[in-house]
């Protein structure tokens, strides 16, 4: 499939796009700006009751007994369920399929090479609580307040056990064991790369720089807390779930597994989703529990997480300890790179995407001929981690771009010149890196030049002097990035062109704010040669959407546009046969262009809708919907969005306060379908990274193992007055791997943001002796780093 499409790519590239590439304002906005969005909690059903979870207050505790007798007698209480009830009813576990599995993913294994023990995810546990906030029992009552009151009276006899929150501690001898099956907590341990070549290069290097970076744990905090509404229809035996996610189809399958029912008896509905960023990609226990409870009680059951619950039990992000070494020769040529990446997966493995995606990208945008990475992971008594905006890549790019800056300053190279010297050039594309991963395309040096110009890099000294006169310091930072977009390989489109002049496109991937209804319509319209306003995009109901991989890993536009393209190519063949039949001529005598089928050398022509009318007419009493086509495709070839960022920060050395005063992002997302939407993705993506660099941290109290970041008052997501306006530009290099030339937007800018901001802060403070600052670089941390540097 992919090979076939590659051949056709040139033809598409020269074709005239009418809507693709234009900043079309979104059609989904109208409902959202008038209060008519359809978010999960906006749905209510007659007779609906409310579920509340009893959550563990301990990071690690054996569950000896659960006494709910008192709670069951309380007003409005309908049922209280425990892990034993789930087990007795034959419920299964949530199968997260956490190991990345496309053909191009490096294969992660257990230590010694075997299958990975994931830590089974029952809807409610029977043995132990393995993190604070893990659901232990569920109360269902007539009202939310009644359920909350009863939950307080569910008495759980916990036996607190030793806990461990830090992955570096969890791997030590004698650390508390999270799962008996993995006594030392190390659940993954895999090495990639050429050890001998790397060792040899290090042995011969003129310089070796070594650094360690804890990439702290953060949480996505989409502003819509996770929610679920479950229904069961006794007559049909079917379950219906409303829940926000990145793709209802995957959720349907996984929930069916957890409930031990046929997937066809599950319908998942997902319309507007109030942000995701990775955390809603994976199934939550409440999704299964509300469906199960709805069947047992015979009434619809709703669960709505509070923000505090979200902080405790949303799957979290990052938490990687990475130790890296860079070998250089005397003139600054990069020779080799080593990395040890230890991931904290939390209480069970929900996803190994971050570890797996980061590992083969540790050498980033640079020509580094020899490299080795150890990718390993440990269980801890913390909330599980999952892919978070730009899964795994910001972590490794942070380490790389920080160590390059450090090498430049320690060895006396200009940091820009050192990068330029070692960047993979456009002539080397497609470039295969030291792990055998092939970067499809890009012009990294051009992106860097654009960014330096937009940032007025050369005018820095004058600005820095002016800032000094105000008693502050100005620092500047730079970072390149390359990231990978792979994701679930299959996607499907069902297209109907109706005699009434409308095109319906049913697609399996799910937007969570990315504007698919607008941008997919742009693509469809241009490929059909029609007006985008005639196209309706349909998603979010598994009774309509048969198949689809969901939005993650920057896959949606690439997969959807490729599936739409494939569907239309198939439909063209059929349409030409139809026209040939009607006109009584050979198919070779019919040409197609700009939405019209034309008789060669004749006057007869049809457009799509006329053919749809003919098709309906011919159907007689049969299917009169018009031209219809289904197309599934499978695409395993990854693409490599890339780019860079430059920024300036003002630092107050007295208070440690940091303000970003300039931020430039240059991104190669491949073909830009809608620049308004992609720019918006860039802005948000920068803020995601800035939050991690400066404020955000899921902090665990080292004495008690208690998470102390439980609300927006003690977890610092970026606010309007802390962000600058951004300067953004595209360096659009279409990918040769898919017909539209799409790479991916929305994750790349996060990938560069951590490093570029820390590089800038360190630059401002370097003459005070500061050569690194751990994230988040809060005022206290910056102040402390200055103090530490000065002894």
């Amino acid at each position: 499939m992919t090979d076939e499409l590659e051949l056709k790519f040139d033809a598409l590239a020269v074709g005239a796009f009418k809507s693709v590439g234009r900043p079309v304002a979104r059609r989904e906005d109208l409902r959202l700006i008038t209060g008519k969005g359809r978010f999960t909690d906006d749905f209510n059903e007659p007779g609906q009751v409310v579920a509340v979870l009893v959550r563990s207050p301990y990071p690690h505790a054996r569950i000896n007994r659960i006494d709910s007798d008192t709670a069951k007698q309380m007003p409005g209480v309908l049922a209280i369920y425990t892990g034993e009830d789930c087990r007795a009813d034959g419920l299964g576990i949530i199968s997260h399929s956490p190991v990345p599995s496309t053909r191009s993913d490096l294969k992660l294994t257990a230590p010694g090479g075997g299958a990975i023990f994931e830590g089974p995810h029952a809807l409610l546990p029977v043995d132990k609580a393995r993190h604070v906030g893990e659901g232990i029992a569920m109360v269902v009552a007539e009202s939310h307040r009644q359920a909350l009151d009863a939950a307080e009276h569910v008495r759980v006899d916990y036996e607190p056990l030793p806990w461990v929150a830090d992955s570096a501690v969890a791997i030590r001898d004698g650390a508390p064991t999270v799962w008996d099956e993995v006594p030392n907590n190390v659940c993954v341990d895999t090495r990639f790369g050429d050890t001998a070549a790397t060792d040899a290069a290090f042995a011969s290097a003129a310089h070796v720089i070594e650094m360690e970076f804890p990439i702290q744990r953060v949480t996505a905090t989409p502003l819509e807390p996770r929610a679920a509404l479950g229904q069961y229809d006794e007559a049909s035996g079917r379950y219906t779930l409303n829940a926000g996610s990145n793709g209802a189809v995957t959720h349907k399958r996984q929930i069916a597994g957890a409930l031990n029912v046929d997937p066809e008896n599950i319908r998942v509905l997902c319309f507007d989703v109030g942000g995701n960023f990775g955390t809603k990609n994976r199934v939550y226990v409440e999704f299964g529990l509300v469906l199960w409870a709805a069947r047992k009680i015979g009434r619809p059951v709703k669960f709505l997480a509070t923000r505090s619950e979200s902080f405790l039990s949303d799957y979290q992000g990052r938490d990687l300890l990475t130790r890296v070494e860079l070998a250089l020769d005397a003139d600054g040529t990069f020779l080799a790179y080593r990395a040890s990446n230890l991931s904290n997966v939390g209480a069970r493995i929900v996803s190994l995407s971050p570890l797996g995606k980061g590992a083969p990208l540790v050498t980033g945008s640079y020509r580094i001929p020899a490299a080795e990475v150890r990718a390993w992971a440990a269980f801890t008594t913390t909330t599980p981690t999952q892919a978070y905006r730009s899964s795994g890549r910001p972590e490794v790019i942070h380490a790389l771009e920080r160590i390059i800056d450090t090498a430049a300053h320690r060895l006396g190279f200009d940091p820009i010149a050192l990068r330029r010297k070692n960047l993979v050039s456009s002539e080397e594309m497609p470039y295969t890196n030291a792990f055998g991963i092939t970067y499809d395309s890009g012009d990294y040096i051009k992106s860097m030049d654009i960014a330096l110009r937009l940032a007025d890099w050369d005018g820095f000294e004058a600005r820095a002097l002016a800032v000094r006169e105000r008693g502050l310091r100005l620092g500047r930072g730079f970072a390149n990035y390359v990231e990978s977009s792979i994701g679930a390989p299959r996607e499907r489109v069902d297209m109907t062109i109706s005699p009434a002049g409308r095109v319906e496109v049913v697609v399996g991937t799910q937007p969570t704010g990315q504007g698919h209804e607008t941008s997919f319509a742009q693509v469809t319209a241009d490929l059909l040669g029609i007006d985008a306003n005639a196209v309706d995009i349909v998603y979010g109901d598994t009774d309509i959407v048969a198949e689809g991989g969901g939005s993650h890993s920057g896959r949606s536009m690439r997969h959807a546009s490729t599936a739409i393209y494939g569907a239309i190519e198939k439909l063209k063949v059929y349409a030409i046969e139809l026209a040939a039949d009607v006109w009584g001529i050979e198919t070779q005598a019919i040409g197609y262009g700009d939405g019209r089928f034309v008789e060669t050398g004749g006057a007869r022509r049809f457009d799509w809708f006329e053919l749809a009318a003919l098709e309906a007419e011919r159907a007689g009493g049969g299917d009169q919907r018009g031209l219809r086509i289904s197309h599934s495709h499978e695409m395993h070839t990854p693409v490599f969005p890339n780019g860079c960022a430059a920024c300036e920060v003002e630092v107050d050395t007295e208070t440690g306060f940091v303000r970003i005063t300039k931020y430039v992002a240059v991104d190669d997302v491949g073909r830009v379908i809608n620049p308004l939407i992609v720019d918006g993705q860039t802005h948000g993506s920068i803020a995601t990274g800035a939050g991690q660099a400066l404020w955000e941290q899921c902090y665990t109290d080292p004495d008690s193992g208690q998470p102390l970041s439980g609300s927006f008052m003690d977890y610092g997501i970026p606010r309007a007055d802390e962000m600058p306006s951004f300067i953004t530009a595209f360096n659009e290099v279409p990918s040769p791997t898919n017909p539209l030339g799409v790479k991916s937007g929305g994750e790349g800018p996060t990938t560069a943001a951590l490093a570029v901001i820390i590089n800038a802060i360190v630059d401002a403070l370097r003459d005070l002796g500061v050569d690194d600052i751990p994230m988040p670089a809060t005022p206290f941390q910056v102040w402390q780093s200055i103090r530490d540097a000065q002894g």
Binding site: T34, D41, E224, T306, R307
Partner: protein, 156 residues
């Protein structure tokens, strides 16, 4: 249950409420006005901002009974018929929303901001929206939209 009378989006409303009912619960659960959202439980996110007697307030932090006799405007009441409020129009044109969850509260706060200061600069807009969190836009296009709406409203 206690009786409550108020105006919501220009229409008189009479309701029977539990004493502890929050204004946002009245709006969402009893009146079906689900455009007003709840994104946190500590009055930080601003997803629930509505106007009460012309003042932008976080409806998650207000007992419904305290709006007795008040004039409440929610996102559903901002447009005039089919004509969007200039702030709604600016949010659309400037792509100031992505997932749309913070948007109703953000728009209601921004409208109130311009009532206090019809000609704000960028820093004033950013400071004025400090009580509304957005995780999608990095605020860039929200700030652009508020400045664009301010210009249009001053012009009109």
């Amino acid at each position: 249950m206690i009786p409550l009378q108020l105006k919501v989006n220009g229409e008189p409303v009479a309701a029977e409420i539990e004493p502890a009912t929050l204004l946002v619960e009245l709006l969402r659960d009893q009146l079906g006005l689900t455009g007003t959202h709840v994104g946190c439980d500590t009055s930080q996110c601003g997803c629930c901002v509505v106007h009460v007697d012309g003042v932008a307030l976080k409806s998650c932090t207000l007992l419904a009974i305290s709006a007795q006799g008040s004039d409440v405007v929610t996102i559903e009441g901002l447009a005039t018929g089919a004509t969007l409020h200039p702030m709604q129009k600016a949010f659309h044109e400037c792509h100031a929303l992505q997932c749309g969850y913070c948007t109703p509260g953000m728009i209601m706060s921004a409208v109130a901001l311009l009532e206090r200061n019809p000609d704000p600069n960028e820093a004033e807009v950013r400071e004025g929206l400090e009580g509304n969190l957005c995780r999608c836009t990095g605020y860039h296009n929200i700030v652009r939209a508020v400045l664009a709406a301010a210009a249009e409203m001053r012009g009109g």
